[in-house]
Amino acid sequence: MTGTSTLSRLVGRPSAFCLTLLVLLVVINFIVQPSFAAPGQIAPTLGDLAPFALAGMASTPAILAGGGGIDLSVAPLMGFTNILLVTRLLGTPLGKPLAAVPILVAIGACVGLINGVMVTKLRIPPVIATLGTYFVLSGVDLGLVPNPVTAPPNWTNNVAGSIGPIPGALLIVGLPLLLWLGLRRTPFVEALLAVGDHDAAAFSAGMNIDAVRIAAYALGGAIAGVGGIALTGLVASADSQVFGDYVLVALAAVALGGTNMAGGRGGMMLSVIGAGCVFMLENLLTDLHASAYFIQVAYGGVLLVAILLGSRLFTRRAVST
């Protein structure tokens, strides 16, 4: 530890690589499309980004908790809360933000809780358990709205746009992020990382592994609930198909951010940066009129290269022996 220069400590940080990539992509975006940073554009752009960022954040805790943890049901859960909000809550007294937000967050947390219980108590492998939830939720989504239902103008439009002078996206991404930063000051995140890194050690030290993992899935679910609100603001409708865009991109955002996919290292902040990279890349390629097929190829390529480079840069801080 001694004698490590500030520079190499910075380079060694997991966020360094992804942050650099993000800055680079923003600059290139600006060069290609100078109107990208025009004052009127920033809020809608961030509104586009918000569901990506929230999907990435929601996917993070399950992965951090280790033990093969992953939550594939985040995207259809966002779709589910989007549909509930538009078809059941808006236009009723419960459609007001102060009622709707807690309800949707709670529903998300409940679904996450079920995932967590399946993974820990029933010992179903996380990929399978959350894939099951994925199919159930996407079926329910489709059953609720076989065809998109346009939402009447409502408060979520501001979420994708501006609330006063503040871009709504900053608020809807910022509040869960603040929650996470708050949790980092509690023993929870420490426990989450410990369980993800070496669950046997954590267990023998007296940690309740199952409780930590269930809480991780529930936290992810709750944030997916917020993601559903951001999605509603963006698409202004109830749509059973739109979540498909976020399923794998959410995981890409987590990986790109530098969170260890095997658990024990990383965080939501990283996933937001990762989501920013994915989004900027898509934005750039769209501006360049690349075909949708090519965008997919580019996603994959950047992801692989980033993971490769990121892990190389990270090895200098890696655990020895």
């Binding site: 509690t186 890194d197 050690a201 954590a202 023998s204 007296g206 940690m207």
Partner: protein, 526 residues
């Protein structure tokens, strides 16, 4: 509640001049404990008494039930029958280590259970908090953590990731984790096996202080000299039952081995190995020229001859482990290792080179580097010799089975069926299977990294026998050992490492227990 009970006993002062072990009130009473895992009866009828302010050692061979007892007391397993009383009151069934800790029982396990990517300080306090609330304020964590860990190691690096520490220091972190909880009962389950000698001595000092303050310590170790040094009483267990409890002074090595193995015949301490004369050949098989293990280190020169038994020793982390890996083909910082088997000189550049030259390496970390946990005993045995069993690219299982049976007999490997999972075997038997795996490759040089760690006396003797046999057939055996006694009994030569350099080479007849340990510390009275 616990404090009240303890204060009560303070009212009647304990006479410190009489044997503490015999007079203290019983803090933990285990009676008729039984536990089965599937068809294996790990505990049959085990009863122990742990008194206030004593060190009770549990001695027994590997499958004797010690680990199961410890895991029941630490909340990992639940007993099938039997009763446990803590401080005179029946102990409710413990469902997790957390509950055990809440009852004042803290355990340090043999496995090094640190969370590698988290800082040392976090590791010390791991599990002490609630899900959202801290039980111990941060300043206090730092202060207490520093004090406790500094008792065991110098300049504890509290902010370093625990995984970056040497093995011994990592285990010290685990010990510190138990100590900061200020338990009524401290269980050390083979916890000293990964500690270097200096840290262990410091731990013993801590244990003596805790004992004087009334803490009860359950101390489990395969090292007789540790038990003789620290234990007030020794309870001997065999096949899941307690067979005897000896007072301090009664517990000599001979008697303990007798009780553990249950047969007079097996009572000789360790198998003696035939003299080197006639066994060690002139033929040099490995030539170590100018090898440096660290950049500023002095170059190491050594020759290993066919049929030789060479010990590699030193304090933990002083280069002996590295040296063994270099012999296994991991490139050193400088110099080279030349293998002279098959009449041709070959410089080792990779582990694959070493393997091709007939150098087999049995690693230390059995679970991490040695066995395939999800595969059978036979599959674990055969992986290194799969090619020999093939015909037209198909593996003939019967050939493998015959070979395995031959080695099983030779090494006295007692297994259920050979298609059972390797993890169904005790650690010592797994180790035998691993050694058999590499012996079956007919190596010219056999490297072993502390193969008897955490292995019972009977299994140790079997391993020694096999190594001696291999040596007499011309295999050069190079073994890293953390047990002084086995170096003395088994080796023709011992290479002592210190600070990444070859510090001294001692020949049979030159080394005694004191001489070897002294040279670990660089104290060589010529």
């Amino acid at each position: 509640m616990a404090d009240i009970a303890e204060n009560h006993t303070f009212a009647a002062p304990v006479d410190q001049t009489v044997d503490r072990g015999a007079s203290g009130e019983v803090v933990l009473r285990v009676q008729h404990l039984a536990k089965a895992f599937g068809p294996t009866q790990a505990l049959r009828d085990l009863s122990i008494e742990l008194r206030r302010g004593e060190v009770l050692s549990i001695m027994g061979e590997n499958a004797s039930g010690k680990s199961t007892l410890v895991k029941i007391l630490s909340g990992v397993h639940r007993p099938d029958s039997g009763t446990i009383e803590l401080g005179g009151a029946p102990l409710p069934p413990l469902h997790s280590p957390r509950q055990a800790q809440a009852m004042g029982i803290a355990t340090v396990f043999q496995e090094i259970l640190v969370v590698p990517q988290q800082p040392v300080l976090t590791n010390i306090w791991l599990g002490s908090d609630g899900l959202l609330r801290r039980q111990v304020p941060l300043e206090q964590r730092r202060a207490r953590g520093t004090t406790v860990l500094a008792e065991l190691i110098d300049d504890p690096p509290l902010q370093a990731p625990a995984g970056s520490l040497p093995l011994s220091d990592r285990q010290a972190v685990c010990v510190a984790r138990a100590l900061v909880r200020e338990p009524r009962i401290l269980i050390l389950d083979e916890a000293t096996s990964t500690l270097d000698v200096a840290t262990r001595d410091r731990l013993f000092r801590v244990i003596r202080r805790l004992r004087a303050a009334g803490t009860s310590i359950l101390f489990i170790s395969h090292r007789m000299e540790e038990v003789e040094e620290i234990a007030d009483r020794v309870t001997i267990v065999r096949s899941g039952e307690n067979v005897a409890t000896l007072q301090r002074g009664e517990a000599d090595v001979q008697r303990m081995v007798e009780l553990m193995t249950g047969t007079k015949a097996a009572a000789q301490e360790l198998r003696k190995v035939p003299d080197a004369r006639g066994r060690v050949r002139d033929e040099v098989v490995v030539q170590v020229s100018g090898v440096r293990l660290r950049h500023q280190g002095a170059p190491i020169h050594a020759e290993i001859r066919a049929g030789e038994l060479v010990g590699v020793a030193g304090l933990e982390g002083h280069g002996q482990d590295r040296f063994l890996r270099v012999l296994a083909g991991v490139p050193p910082v400088g110099g080279e290792v030349v293998c002279l088997t098959d009449g041709q000189a070959r410089t080792l550049r990779s582990p694959a080179d070493a393997l091709a030259s007939g150098i087999a390496y049995v690693p230390k970390d059995r679970r991490g580097e040695g066995i395939f946990e999800t595969r059978s005993i036979l599959e674990n045995f055969q992986v290194a010799t799969l090619d020999a069993d093939g015909r037209f690219g198909l593996v003939r299982r019967s050939v493998t089975e015959r070979r395995f049976d031959r080695y099983a007999e030779l090494m006295r490997i007692v297994t259920g069926h050979r298609s059972n999972l390797i993890t169904s075997l005790s650690g010592g038997t797994q180790q035998k299977v691993l050694i058999a795996r590499w012996l079956a490759t007919s190596p010219k040089v056999l490297l072993l990294n502390d193969p008897t760690r955490g292995v019972d006396v009977g299994t140790k003797n079997d391993i020694y026998g096999v190594l001696a046999d291999a040596a007499s057939q011309g295999v050069a055996v190079i073994m890293l050992s953390t047990e002084v006694i086995e170096l003395i009994e088994l080796m023709d030569r011992v290479l002592v490492f210190r600070e990444g350099e070859l510090h001294r080479e001692l020949r049979r007849g030159e080394f005694s227990n004191a001489r070897l340990v002294a040279s670990y510390f660089g104290q060589d009275a010529e």
